[in-house]
Amino acid sequence: MEPRMNAPAVVAAPAAKDFKSAYKPVWCPGCGDYSVLAAITKALAQLGLRPENVAVVSGIGCSSRIPAYTTCYGFHGVHGRSLPAATGLKAARPDLTVLVASGDGDGYSIGGNHFLHACRRNIDLTYIVMDNHVYGMTKGQPSPTTEPDWSSKLAPGGTGLREFHPLVIALASGANFIARAFSGDPNGCAALIAQAVRHPGFSFVEVLSPCVTFRPEQREWKTRVHAAPVEPTDDPGRAARRLMTDDGFNIGVLYQGSRAPYRPAGGSAQRVEDLECQFRL
């Protein structure tokens, strides 16, 4: 029998497995992204959503392959532009739940400008970035979150560049919800994603998701992560101090704001012909 590629028309109460398609991921064995996929499907089930009412939007890269591995509507666009595509979709179809999947290259490098403006715009999206500090799909080049001394073919001896700090950037740019998750704890990750979806406005979840192929040392992340020792704050000043002094392995909700989400103007429904009077002589 052919594997089921799209969601069945009728599902009583979708379980996590109902959000998972039959496609075999292109990821390497041991990739953190498998667990992120599992976490997303769990979160969607916990939220009681139906696949046809959820869209997963992505750009290009290992993590951006996720839409096809779900049974939701998917949009696998061009490199770096997942946030604009998701913004257009959510603005045009506010009834949908829109998740955006990205990686540290797609989201923080080529798509960096959109990250700033999506945070600032605060439209109701959930942005999940699988950060492994490397370009995996192109086989091992340094990304904006790569350590300055990590040596590679493209940057022998390291880039010498300071890492990008996505959580600080998100806070400064106006994101309404900021969390860090770890792929090695799919249940915890699922809970954080579900919380992010529930929170109105632009929610950002940075997921530490190891690349065992090009960054095998990241297997050790499981020994370094720890629950954030503090409660979420709605005070951006406190959140800024917390994030600036963060060791990069605090897991949990780090900021939870209360800014009203973006709503584009509109709503009235005149007939198009009624606009003609302005041109008539």
Binding site: G74, G88, N113
Partner: protein
């Protein structure tokens, strides 16, 4: 002087002189008096305070081309106005009006042989408390054309929110001055039919709404900004949504995202923005997402001359996408046609599930004209939508190439819209057979397109043909009328559907033609090279072209046709 069926006047001055305000009122006054009219504009690059000129042609017949020369050039001051000399052609029959307090007119204007008439515009304005110099000039120009005073004052009442009494008093002083000058009276206006006063950018925006667009992503760029600014409140009124994007990479992707959501979408830009959007237009082709991009072309390459017109994005629009990426390119060929062609573009995008580029330009976009009321909206072509079903194939290989599209929210219709090559289900595939099948499918959609008569405007007959597109059409039409009046038969083919090419249709349109003159406003002959690549043009082929910003004048096209027919 005998009345003319068309009178061209220009009003120039430095920033803050109010030449555009006065120009718009003069156009409105002509419209109220029952005339047709056109106003194009030229300006320097300054944000405020730069030199500018309003160029008007008031006529007893419809049309949106400028004439060969201006009968009157009035200047509030001469500061830097000489920079526009090439755009303000004058002749010995022309009248130059300037304020002697502002010095003599520049030699670049007087050498045309135009008569100079000094009029103390500023001193006259000073006679009225709160009087403005541009209103004196407005009254003077209206009176030189013999526009009725009540039409002018009616237009002023309609446009002026404050200072109306002073404005009218100043305009009357200007009108009185006209009595001392030789005017250029207009022939009586034509019988009144319902008419609109509209810019090309507004027409394109309204056409988009009529076509069904309900989502617009906007990033400001000259000269497309007014299109987006017109759409912002208009969209809100009809229940649509406009989002200002952070750049053009974002605006095109927002439009694609909204289109994926089932909402007809559009963005507008100019050359630099089009270049940024090109990669994502390829995504629109591959994922089969309808979207319309209006490119209001300006002078390039790079930043070029941002405020002035050129037809040099044709190559980018046709060939800019990487890979084999069948899409649609259309070009409105008059100001009013910006409405019909943009409306059509939305229908083509939606029904073929393909990106459509609309090539407008600064000349059409920023010109304001009195046009016959465009016909009521035709029935729009709709997107073929899918009901969800087990085993739904988003990219099914249908005979037409168009396959039903499931809109998010439809149960059992979920799929991934993907820029990766895919099979019928939308599953990524790197197999040769899937690539070939999907390439064939996407090409088939355009091959099966039947544009009917809309593909081109074809007028006249004869063994000589003038083939052009876009804003070159207006002066071409006028040149043809003159050639016809002089006994030379010429036919006009103004191509509206640039891609997919229509070789059979052009062949029929050019049957019996021995000479083809290809007219375009760019340096390298992009349209000529495109025609040569797609068609076997009959007989001898010549090119008449130059880059922007100077629009073609009917006389130079007529001259080229005359010379050739004599040869």
């Amino acid at each position: 002087m005998d009345p003319r069926t068309s009178v061209s006047v220009a009003l120039a001055g430095s920033g803050g002189a109010g030449v555009m305000t006065a120009g718009n009122m003069l156009l409105e006054a002509a419209a109220q008096a029952g005339y047709y009219g056109l106003m194009t504009r030229t300006s320097g690059p300054q944000i405020r305070g730069g030199e500018a000129a309003a160029m008007l042609r008031i006529s007893a017949f419809p049309g949106d081309g400028q004439d060969d020369r201006f009968q009157v050039l009035a200047a509030i001051d001469w500061q830097n106005v000489g920079r526009f000399a090439a755009e303000l052609p004058l002749g010995p029959e022309s009248l130059l009006i300037g304020d002697p307090a502002q010095g003599e007119p520049p030699e670049v204007f007087t050498r045309s042989g135009a008569r100079y008439a000094p009029v103390p515009l500023k001193a006259l304005a000073a006679q009225v408390s709160g009087g403005w110099t541009n209103m004196v000039a407005l009254g003077l120009l209206a009176a030189l054309m013999r526009l009725p005073q009540e039409a002018l004052e009616g237009a002023m009442r309609k446009s002026m929110k404050k200072g109306l009494d002073a404005g009218i008093a100043a305009a009357r002083l200007g009108m009185a001055q006209a009595a001392t000058l030789q005017g250029t009276p207009l022939a009586p206006p034509p019988a009144t039919a319902p008419r609109w006063l509209i810019t090309g950018n507004e027409a394109a925006g309204y056409g988009a709404l009529r076509g069904g667009v309900r989502f617009v992503a906007a990033y400001p760029i000259t000269p497309a900004t007014e299109l987006l600014e017109w759409l912002a409140p208009a969209l809100a009124k009809v229940g649509g949504t406009l989002v200002q994007a952070e750049d053009e990479l974002a605006s095109i992707n927002m439009a694609l995202g909204a289109s994926f959501g089932g909402v007809p979408s559009l963005t507008a830009t100019s050359g630099p923005g089009l270049s940024l959007m090109i990669e994502s237009l390829g995504l629109g082709v591959a994922a089969e997402l309808p979207v319309v991009v209006v490119d209001v072309m300006r002078t390039g390459p790079s930043t070029g001359i941002a405020t002035k017109s050129e037809q040099a994005d044709l190559g980018t629009a046709l060939y800019g996408l990487h890979g084999d990426a069948p899409h649609v390119v259309v070009a409105p060929n008059s100001l009013a046609d910006c409405l019909a062609t943009t409306e059509w573009a939305v229908g083509l995008a939606e029904s073929l599930q393909v990106p459509v580029i609309v090539l407008s330009d600064q000349y059409l976009g920023q010109a304001r004209a009195v046009v016959d009321m465009p016909p009521a909206a035709k029935v729009s072509f709709a997107r073929m939508k899918a009901e969800g079903a087990e085993g739904y194939k988003r990219y099914a290989l249908t005979p037409s190439g168009v396959s039903p599209m499931a809109i998010p929210g439809t149960a059992g219709g979920t799929y991934v819209a993907d820029g990766l090559e895919h099979n019928e289900r939308g599953t990524p595939s790197s197999q040769a057979a899937d690539h070939l099948a999907q390439m064939d499918k996407r090409a088939r959609k355009l091959a099966q397109l039947d544009p009917g008569d809309a593909w081109a405007s074809i007028e006249g007959d004869g063994e000589t043909a003038l083939v052009t597109f876009g804003s070159c059409t207006a002066p071409a039409r006028e040149a043809l009328a003159r050639a016809r009046a002089a006994g030379v038969a010429v036919r006009l083919v103004s191509v509206r559907l640039l891609a997919p090419a229509q070789p059979e249709r052009l062949k029929r349109a050019l049957q019996g033609v021995k000479r083809v003159l290809v007219l375009e406003q760019n340096h390298s002959g992009q349209f000529l090279r495109y025609l040569r690549a797609e068609y076997d043009l009959p007989g001898e082929v010549r090119s008449l072209r130059r880059p922007g910003p100077l629009p073609f004048r009917p006389a130079e096209i007529h001259e080229a046709l005359e010379q050739w027919s004599r040869a």
